[in-house]
């Protein structure tokens, strides 16, 4: 765990005065100027790349998805290949509501998050009893089950063809989802910001610190009396809620949900993006996701010879 580059100004080696060490340790949660960078970049992008806003909105929502994966993988050390289960649940929830008469976006978002949290909690109760490879397999099973359920229930999900007929209402009756993606982009940006703020608070809280303890040495955590299972279940549920929110965002801004929202490629893809950017640091999502998605977008525009 890096001490984040703090250097004592030219004092000879020796025990640091207590207050200095304590302040350095306690100040880890304070905001640093560097953290404003991604938001400044996102706002600049809004003005600089007006024709890429729909892609931008997708990137922002996927950053949220990667952030949710970072909470379980990078902080709690839970390796999962089934996170798309929660992403897809949020997407389908928001989508089904919008396709069946309730297109209000904010409540659709909350509904998606809540449904995903519920699935996260229930599956977590079963899946988190195990660790390692068994846990990985079980997360895969959960995602696969949901995929098949969505496939079979085509009367409500649209099955293979995807969910048709979504109609998302304007936000607060004011901001219509326009075809240039302006509303969508800002909507995703604001939601991402709020979720990031929340995630950051959690990560720097005593709860969040104890998660790194669980990741580093679970045996020791048991020996100091930490309720390990409960903590893992809590972060798993919170992460599922964030993933569901991300799914709902994409559903609402693209007005489409398909089975690919629940598949292995979706789960694996978010892990790859997170790993590229760096796991366990919260900003990894902000680096890996844009890099991957922009590169993918560029490559897809090159015509195959």
């Amino acid at each position: 765990m890096a001490t984040e580059g703090l250097v004592r100004p030219g004092i000879a080696a020796g025990p640091p005065p207590a207050q200095w060490a304590i302040d350095a340790f306690a100040g880890r949660h304070r905001y640093r100027l560097l953290e404003a960078l991604p938001w400044a970049a996102a706002i600049a992008a809004y003005f600089l790349f007006p024709s890429y806003l729909p892609l931008g909105a997708q990137i922002l929502a996927t950053i949220l998805f990667a952030l949710s994966a970072d909470l379980v993988l990078g902080y709690a050390g839970i390796v999962t290949l089934g996170h798309a289960a929660f992403f897809g649940t949020g997407a389908y929830t928001a989508g089904i509501l919008a396709a069946n008469g309730w297109g209000e976006p904010i409540s659709g978002l909350f509904a998606g998050a809540a449904m995903a949290a519920l699935i996260g909690f229930v599956s977590g109760c079963i899946v988190l009893r195990t660790t390692g490879l068994t846990l990985l397999m079980q997360t895969l099973v959960v995602a696969t089950l949901l995929y098949e359920a969505a496939n079979k229930a085509s009367w409500i999900t649209g099955g293979d063809d995807g969910l048709q007929g979504m109609e998302v209402w304007p936000i607060f009756d004011q901001f219509r989802f326009d075809m240039f993606g302006r509303t969508g982009y800002l909507y995703c940006l604001i939601v991402l910001f709020l979720c990031w703020y929340l995630a950051r608070r959690i990560v720097h809280s005593p709860f969040g610190r104890s998660l790194t303890g669980i990741r580093e040495n679970v045996r020791r955590m048991h020996a100091i009396g930490a309720p390990v299972r409960r903590r893992r279940l809590i972060i798993y549920t919170i992460s599922a809620a964030f993933a569901g929110t991300a799914g709902a965002l994409i559903a609402q801004t693209t007005q489409f949900v398909g089975l690919s929202f629940l598949n292995l490629e979706r789960s694996g893809g978010v892990l790859i993006m997170l790993i590229i950017g760096g796991v366990g640091r919260l900003y990894g999502a902000f680096i890996g996701v844009p890099l991957y998605m922009i590169a993918q977008n560029r490559f897809s525009e090159i015509e195959p010879v």
Binding site: P16, F25, R201, S205, P206, F207, A223, I224
Partner: protein
């Protein structure tokens, strides 16, 4: 289920009655009647494989006993799981360091103190605001001479100092009973003086039981010694008595095989 006996306040802080543990035909604990008084300085010694670490596992709830009872402060805890026993202020250290190696020393101890204080479940307030917890953790590091390593990751410390961090983490939990499993294990002899000094300065209200092979440490530290051989207590008593006991010498020097009627 726990039963508080009226003698709890004056009785031993840790007690086992007829404690047994077998894995099939292999008996690792055989009718152990053990007691540890308040503020004790006691050592558990015995040859390798005698069952000392197993005894610790049984007492802390890591292993379920095959028979017998365990009492903490007069209350039966035999049925209780590890976490509940821990809540009765029984804390152990590990023979091989079990620390958060990539985290800083201060972080290691802070995690323990935060758990004890009950603030570790706090989801929203930054941990840096819990000043009391951090200051207490730091003060603990100071008393153990680890203050200068407070912000260094544990795996950057010399092994002897890492053993001290192990003790610091245990102390951060404010135990009533402290079980130290070979605190000097793996420490080069040049550094073991540190460990000894720390153990000698432990707060007097904590009952301390150490498992050790280092006889110098044992005889310096212990006011009472329990000798464990093949899962049962061979003999118990003050250091002078144990040092002079012929059976103990047999066990350690192997003049006669153990377990036979030579007992």
């Amino acid at each position: 289920m726990s039963v508080e006996t009226p003698a709890a306040v004056n009785g031993p802080v840790l007690e086992t009655r007829g404690l047994c543990k077998s894995f099939g035909a292999l008996t690792v604990a055989d009718q152990i009647d053990f007691s540890l008084e308040r503020g004790a300085r006691q050592a558990l010694i015995g040859p390798n494989g005698a069952g000392k670490t197993t005894f610790i596992e049984l007492v802390t709830g890591g292993l379920p006993p095959s028979a017998g009872h365990i009492l903490i402060d007069g209350a039966y805890v035999t049925e209780l799981p590890q976490a509940a026993r821990f809540q009765r202020e029984l804390v152990r250290t590990f023979q091989i360091n079990a620390l958060f190696r990539r985290l800083t020393t201060l972080e290691n101890v802070t995690l323990a103190v935060a758990e004890r204080d009950g603030v570790a479940g706090d989801l929203l307030r930054p941990s840096g605001r819990h000043n009391r917890v951090i200051e207490e953790a730091f003060a603990l590091l100071e008393t153990l001479g680890l203050a200068e390593d407070a912000l260094r990751p544990v795996n950057a410390l010399a092994y002897g100092r890492q053993r001290l961090v192990e003790i610091a983490v245990a102390l951060g939990l404010s135990p009533k009973v402290l079980l130290l499993d070979e605190p000097a294990a793996g420490v080069p002899s040049g550094e073991s003086g540190l460990i000894v000094a720390v153990i000698e300065r432990l707060p007097t209200d904590i009952a301390v039981l150490i498992i050790e092979h280092d006889m110098d440490l044992v005889f310096r530290f212990a006011r009472r010694i329990t000798v464990l051989v093949q899962g049962h207590i061979l003999v118990e008593g003050p250091p002078e008595v144990i040092a002079a006991d012929p059976q103990v010498r047999q066990v350690y020097l192997g003049e006669r095989p153990h377990g036979r009627e030579a007992r």
